[in-house]
């Protein structure tokens, strides 16, 4: 019964997929999102927070789409701009640039290969996978095409087993298979969770008490990967081979062999001369499968807001309904009708008032974060923290900083940060700071250098540039770290502090104290 419940809305969704009338699709979708979100706020008697000012918006857009804080030159330029289209323009500029490609290859890699967070053995796979992601993102390849490539990538092009670890790190999605240990059950569970938002893995061992999937359903879904074979004895460097015509899988611990069945209960036609994975892709990656588009847009929404419409974002069960089913369906429909264009969805979300609201609580009714009445405060990923620190302090990354971290070796500054700030609980709105992180930021070498007159590029330039008033120097530090100008009260207080020379009776050193405080502040270390 369960699967029919889950998929019953499939038919209802079909008529919606007609070509829409094209105008300004982005503005149009943003407005429809706003209307739905605001309708709900009205019904719940919640007052929406006002739209953020330009500085707050710019910093947020940079962190979400570019993975780091904006350079202060860009902030100055943006704050001086007066055209009404400036927010749309900066989003387009970000989505067309290399920061987006690098940041999103990291975001997608964490979503598709969560194993690389926890298991350093799989980290050697990161360069090839991210390289592949970067190509796809730079070309703005349709999400459907991207997923089809992952699900159907040929494993045995010449009939010989394929070594996964190739010395040249050629771009390839093969890491997906190695990270799931080339096991049909792992691949099935990950495929369902990652691309459909459906968790079936608990049914692997037993009929699940909370959920609807039965053990048989799990293994018949896994049977689409029945042809997988790894060569040799389970070693990490094993090659993969695939027997494409094999369709049956034995449930471990039983003699029962089971053939492939889709999650909606239908079966592939027995005569089809396609491999199991092709058959799976044919069914999964289509606008007729509502879960595919919904899971993807929900992930993008969760990326932009820190909270999914379905939350946790990869748990689409009957017990975990979306906060706004109408917004989810709208986005899914638009995503499918725009050929699964990720940038289109990101543009539309970024153009909406919901996304552009301030993170300040402006009314006591703004309690429930799932109503999106104000922007949530999100923790930064380890990469965002380091790259923002580097941006703000003028640190020039070394070659070692660009290598994937090797936990067995003493690291580059970047890899040390990535390790110190890694967070497996991975809920950006629930992210917590550790004592070690605070100690590293307060006392560690990186920030010590960044706030040293001799060793910091940003501070050195700001403190020594001739003919600047103290207020202008302080403003320059604020723009670099917080992406905004100091408020009048802050300026007054800090000009007093710096002119008096702080504890050291030295104005330049006192500027270093100000910069230290800015870099250690939650306003700098969080996305808001």
């Amino acid at each position: 019964m369960s699967r029919f419940f889950l998929f019953q809305s499939l038919a209802l969704l079909l008529p919606v997929f007609v070509a829409p009338v094209r105008g300004d699709d982005v503005a149009d979708l943003a407005e429809r999102i706003d209307r739905l979100i605001e309708g709900r706020l009205l019904a719940e008697k919640v007052v929406a927070a006002p739209v953020a000012d330009d500085a707050e918006f710019l910093r947020r857009a940079y962190l979400d789409l570019g993975g780091r804080v904006p350079p202060s030159s860009r902030v100055r330029q943006f704050l001086a701009a007066t055209d009404s289209n400036r927010r749309r323009r900066v989003v387009d500029e970000l989505l067309g640039g290399s920061l987006y490609v690098v940041h999103f290859s990291n975001v997608w890699r964490k979503a598709l290969l969560p194993e690389t967070q926890a298991d350093p053995q799989t980290r050697v796979l990161v360069p090839g996978f991210e390289g592949w992601l970067r190509q796809k993102l730079a070309d703005n390849t349709s999400y459907a095409t991207m997923v089809r490539e992952i699900v159907t990538v040929p494993l045995t092009p010449t009939g010989t087993p394929r070594e996964l670890l190739r010395p040249d790190n050629r771009p390839s999605p093969l890491a997906f298979y190695q990270a799931k240990q080339i096991k049909p059950e792992n691949l099935a569970a990950s495929t369902a969770r990652t691309f459909l938002g459906i968790r079936i893995e608990c049914a692997q061992c037993h009929d699940h008490p909370f959920d609807h999937w039965k053990q048989g359903e799990f293994w018949s879904f896994a049977a689409f990967f029945a042809g997988m074979e790894r060569q040799g004895r389970g070693g990490f460097l094993a090659g993969i081979r695939e027997v494409t015509e094999r369709r049956e899988l034995a449930i471990p611990g039983t003699d029962k062999k089971i053939g492939p069945v889709y999650l909606d209960g239908s079966k592939p036609l027995p005569t089809q001369a396609r491999g199991g994975r092709q058959l799976l892709a044919d069914w999964m990656i289509t606008s007729r499968n509502p879960y595919f588009a919904r899971a993807a847009v929900n992930r993008l929404w969760a990326h932009q807001f820190g909270i999914g419409l379905v939350d946790p974002p990869d748990d689409f069960t009957a017990d975990n309904p979306p906060s706004h089913p109408d917004v989810l369906d709208l986005l899914a429909t638009e995503f499918a009708s725009h050929d699964f264009d990720v940038r289109f969805i990101l543009r539309a979300i970024a153009a909406s008032d919901v996304y552009q609201r301030t993170s300040r609580r402006t009314d006591p009714s703004q309690q429930n974060p799932r109503l999106f009445s104000r922007m949530a405060v999100k923790g930064l990923s380890p990469e965002q923290i380091f790259d923002s620190l580097a941006q703000a302090t003028g640190y020039v990354p070394t070659a070692a900083d660009r290598q994937p971290a090797d936990p067995g070796q003493p690291g580059s500054p970047r890899s040390e940060f990535l390790e110190l700030f890694s967070d497996e609980s991975s809920r950006p709105t629930q992210q917590r700071t550790t004592i070690l992180q605070a100690l590293a930021l307060m006392n560690g070498d990186f920030v010590a250098d960044a706030t040293s007159l001799e060793r910091s590029r940003t501070l050195g330039a700001v403190a020594t540039f001739p003919a600047l008033a103290t207020g202008e120097r302080i403003e320059a530090l604020y723009l670099a770290a917080l992406g905004r100008r100091p408020r009048e009260r802050e300026l007054k207080r800090l000009v007093g502090y710096v002119d008096a020379g702080g504890v050291t009776r030295d104005s330049r050193q006192a500027l270093g104290d100000v910069f230290w405080a800015l870099l250690n502040s939650s306003e700098f270390l969080l996305n808001h």
Partner: protein
């Protein structure tokens, strides 16, 4: 409220730790009773043996069988209980040890077995299970110590990092890691006493910045925080402030003297062993003394050699002999020292690795991975010492009496610590997960 007024602040904290506050419906009186048990605060020291130690050459000797190998058994202070000849000082402490000889687990792969033994669960899909130290320190902390509740000395995390982290409990419960667990060259010269190697990173203010200046900086920071936090009542912002407060509190507390091992008499430091593990055991005592509820010390290898020292596929006997010597000094001195200071009865010491090793000796004079029948040890607080629990067959290849699962062991650990093993934490997938798998049974006769 009338029954509440008789509860002290300490009990109140204990009550919070026991979860009574979050579950008011379950009846005040029953909960207060269990809170009283918890308020007898205990600490736990985990001695983690990376690689999987050979039970046949340590605590489950088979002198009458070819599988027994060359080591001779040694009588201990407890009649009938024998250890390896290479653990002579522990033999003198046998009255404190409960030797669990019938561990029967299933995982024979380092990564999976490490995860299972250290979290109680197998890695499963998207659930990030927390490591034992995170789980137990969360239960045992009373928030009074300026030091974090979970300190990990020299862990080797490379093979199974998730087994060493706080998982879904989040970074608040992450270990404070001191010392490098990777294979590194032996410290030379002045560094050879490990005073520096076991320090907390970044605990001192940067060179050239004095305390007055740190105060001035913190003053500026506080103003920024007050502004930002006033209108943003979100978890990440609140947690940032609390972590900074705790970090400053720790930097300035006298408790950080725990890390200054130089304060100890040279003779005692020698007795612990002048190596990473021995000095780590000494540090563990100093931390427990200052109220830290969970400390783990890894014995990865005799210094600088192998990160999985107990993984003796080759040359088992020479390696186990030398590891035993390091283990014997560190652990036995720790027990004596805790005992002398009156801390042993409130401190549980766990000795375990990820699995045991084959009783059959392979062609390279080695022993291979063996989860079927192996040994762990509980000692000290909450444990009825001076006994062996369970038996293996004469050749050591199977458990012949009272098989113990990973979950049984962990439930017993909870019992010895006065922690409710059925307590639940909310996981990252939105489902509550018990401290220990509910199918576990506490091993009979072990909890004092």
């Amino acid at each position: 409220m009338s029954c509440f007024s008789r509860i002290s602040r300490r009990q109140w904290l204990g009550l919070a730790a026991a979860g009574a506050i979050a579950t008011p419906a379950s009846g005040w009186f029953g909960r207060v009773a269990s809170a009283a048990a918890v308020s007898r605060r205990r600490s736990c020291i985990l001695l983690w043996m990376s690689g999987g130690p050979a039970q046949t050459d340590t605590f489950d000797m088979k002198p009458a069988h070819a599988n027994g190998g060359p080591f001779r058994p040694l009588l201990t202070t407890v009649p009938g209980l024998q250890f390896s000849q290479h653990l002579p000082r522990l033999a003198m402490q046998a009255e404190h040890l409960a030797v669990l000889r019938s561990m029967a687990t299933k995982e024979g792969d380092h990564q999976r077995a490490t995860f299972k033994m250290r979290t109680g669960y197998l890695p499963q899909g998207p659930i990030h299970y927390p490591t034992l130290g995170s789980l137990l320190s969360k239960e045992l902390s009373d928030g009074a110590s300026p030091l974090p509740g979970f300190i990990s000395v020299a862990p080797y995390r490379f093979l199974s990092p998730a087994a060493f982290g706080p998982g879904f409990l989040g970074p608040e419960y992450a270990p404070l890691v001191v010392g490098d667990g990777n294979p590194v060259p032996m410290p030379q010269g002045a560094a050879a006493d490990y005073s520096q190697a076991l320090r907390v990173q970044n605990l001192r203010q940067p060179a050239g910045i004095n305390t007055a200046r740190v105060d001035a900086r913190l003053g500026l920071l506080e103003e920024l925080e007050a502004d930002f936090g006033a209108t943003r009542p979100d978890v990440p912002a609140a947690s940032h402030r609390s972590a900074y407060r705790q970090a400053v509190r720790m930097m300035r507390s006298e408790s950080v003297a725990a890390f200054t091992l130089d304060e100890e008499p040279a003779g005692l430091r020698d007795a612990y062993g002048r190596n990473r593990f021995g000095q780590g055991c000494l540090l563990a005592r100093r931390l427990v003394e200052r109220g830290v509820p969970f400390v783990e010390v890894s014995l990865n290898g005799v210094d600088g050699q192998s990160p999985l020292g107990w993984d003796t596929h080759q040359d088992n006997f020479a390696t186990v002999k030398s590891l035993s010597s390091t283990l014997d000094s560190g652990w036995a001195t720790l027990l004596e020292d805790l005992h002398l200071r009156g801390l042993l009865e409130s401190t549980l010491v766990i000795w375990m690795g990820e699995f045991g090793r084959t009783p059959i000796i392979n062609a390279n004079q080695g022993r291979d991975h063996f989860p079927n029948a192996w040994t762990t040890v509980l000692a000290g607080g909450g444990v009825r010492g001076g006994q062996a629990v369970g038996k293996t067959s004469a050749d050591g290849t199977e458990v012949s009496d009272r098989p113990i699962s990973t979950a049984d062991l962990l439930a017993t650990v909870c019992g010895a610590l006065g922690v409710d093993a059925e307590r639940q934490n909310m996981s990252n997938v939105g489902r509550p997960i018990r401290l220990v798998d509910p199918e576990a049974t506490v091993i009979e006769g072990v909890v004092a």
